[in-house]
Subunit: 188 residues, 4 copies
């Protein structure tokens, strides 16, 4: 191992942020590396005490990317699978939502939950951070074998329209890959 490689590994280790899985959220340690998750990439929210609070969706993604390591109340390490099992008990449609979150993030967009808007997610234009500008889309993740009524379809469009965002449906197939459709209400 060269010194360069050694350094890099140390660097990486340093940067792996420790986080604790409390019932419905993930709390990071109080560190610069933790705050960087928020400052740089807008994961979670910055708390007054210097920690970052992540959603379960964000937590799993960062765990998968090895940006954080997660422990429980007793400081016991939580692996990807255990995390997922816990999260699936707490939140509906967790896997489908994870697939869409991951796909959008991997494409270079910032994606946040959007409860306030009545939607699963909001997505910002590439290069835009929340706060700098409004989100461009609201996104609904669905499984390929599910279905929807036109009432649900109309409701989703109304939500998007009333929040001045575009509506995007992300359909997750059995291979976890996502197909997107943008929909807009028109008066032709």
């Amino acid at each position: 191992m060269t010194k360069e490689e050694e350094k890099e590994i140390i660097n990486k280790k340093k940067k792996t942020v420790k986080a604790i899985f409390t019932k419905e959220r993930i709390l990071t340690e109080n560190s610069d590396a933790a705050r960087e998750l928020y400052n740089q990439s807008r994961y979670g929210i910055l708390l007054e005490d210097g920690k970052v609070q992540l959603s379960l969706i964000e937590g799993l993604y960062l765990l998968e990317k090895k940006k954080i390591k997660v422990v429980d109340n007793k400081n016991k390490k939580i692996r990807f699978d255990d995390f997922l099992k816990k999260a699936e008990k707490l939140e509906k449609q967790f896997w489908t939502r994870h697939c869409v979150f991951k796909d959008i993030r991997d494409r270079g967009y910032i994606i946040k939950t959007a409860l306030k808007f009545g939607a699963e997610f909001r997505v910002y234009d590439r290069g835009v951070k929340p706060g700098e500008d409004h989100a461009r889309w609201i996104v609904y993740p669905v499984g390929e074998a599910s279905s929807l009524t036109w009432y649900e379809f109309a409701a989703k469009n109304r939500v998007a329209h009333s929040t001045r965002k575009r509506l995007m449906i992300g359909i997750v197939d059995n291979e976890n890959s996502v197909t997107y459709y943008e929909i807009r209400w028109i008066r032709p």
Copy 2:
């Protein structure tokens, strides 16, 4: 009533085109007024013998607008309700399709059926007549209480994409009013 108004009424009466309801289509008389339905507004198709052949959907619309009067084989007048009853027996989803056809026509677009494209209707841009340019949309009329699978949703998008048209869904509610959504497949 002024002479002008009187004239107009007479004119209109003159122009009501007589048409015959055969089981599968509506055939107009051979007259300039009949041919104007095609020449001006692209209703039906122009036959070699100078008559215009209308679809049942077009026939009901023109009957409602009092542009044609319809008779059966025995020259007996067919009213709106009778026409509708006959048409609903012959064609599936006739009322839903009628509502969308009527709404689009009333908005000033030319709308034609689109079996070849794998859709119920094709719609031309305002001011464009079939033949002058390609249709802009394919349109699927659906009743508000129906539903669809994401496979069907994806299929409709694929049809639109492969025919280089935009996809429009027209949802007909219980008051016969239509809400439109334009959908496109995107790779964000």
Copy 3:
């Protein structure tokens, strides 16, 4: 019972893969027997952590074949009937789709879902695995008592044509047996 037979039975028992039913998918244990489901027969997809993710359709089929045993979050065994009941709540037309999936699989073909192609399933030629070559058919499973418009029929053909696959309709009758029709658009 000969020793050979005894061995085989033990072998089979060993090979029954344990899998967990989460709301949206089936996850196998991390084992060689599990991975063989994917490697040998292309059930599910292979995850990075060594497990195999199955769709509900695949899960029920493998459960029926006793290739997997399924448990819920609390490690409670899920039987065929319970599995079916859960799946029917989550996915539309589950039984009809199951019948076609099962029948095609039993005939020695690999069949996968096909949202991206705008169809329920895609089917590979005998002996061909996904990735080695393109799928030969897209398949639409329908119940014998349903019906379709010619617009829908034309749309399915257009989807098949635009994806360069053959169109197969699988009609499931009341005894769960499937009749297949291959359809192609021709210009005679």
Copy 4:
């Protein structure tokens, strides 16, 4: 008018076969020109008295092509429209069937009714005359806005299979143009 042109007109007149519209069939005069309709192109059937008996579908087609002129019992000329009106009263779906018959004939195939086979039409390969070889297809003409049940679909396939012919569906759209689909029952 040149002598050449004059000759041609006389020639044509000579060849326009006179035929009489009896209730459900068309009977030609007893002439070589009439028999040529059968001998050359297999229109109708050759009667023992030297006349040719045409179906209504064949009659309308030949009238449209000006190969025959049709009169009623009182020797009064019957024009295309009157012919059609009479035929539509006598036979179901006459126009849709006419469109398919015309389209197939115009493409150079011999097409005959196929009551015995339980189908609307049978079609022979290009260049093949009935009697020389078996028909290749049975054809069902349908209107684009109609629909079918899978029972009807299966029945049509069974008819084709049991008569060792291929099944062709000809869908007539509102512009009288026909789209064809060939369907075969397969055991994959």
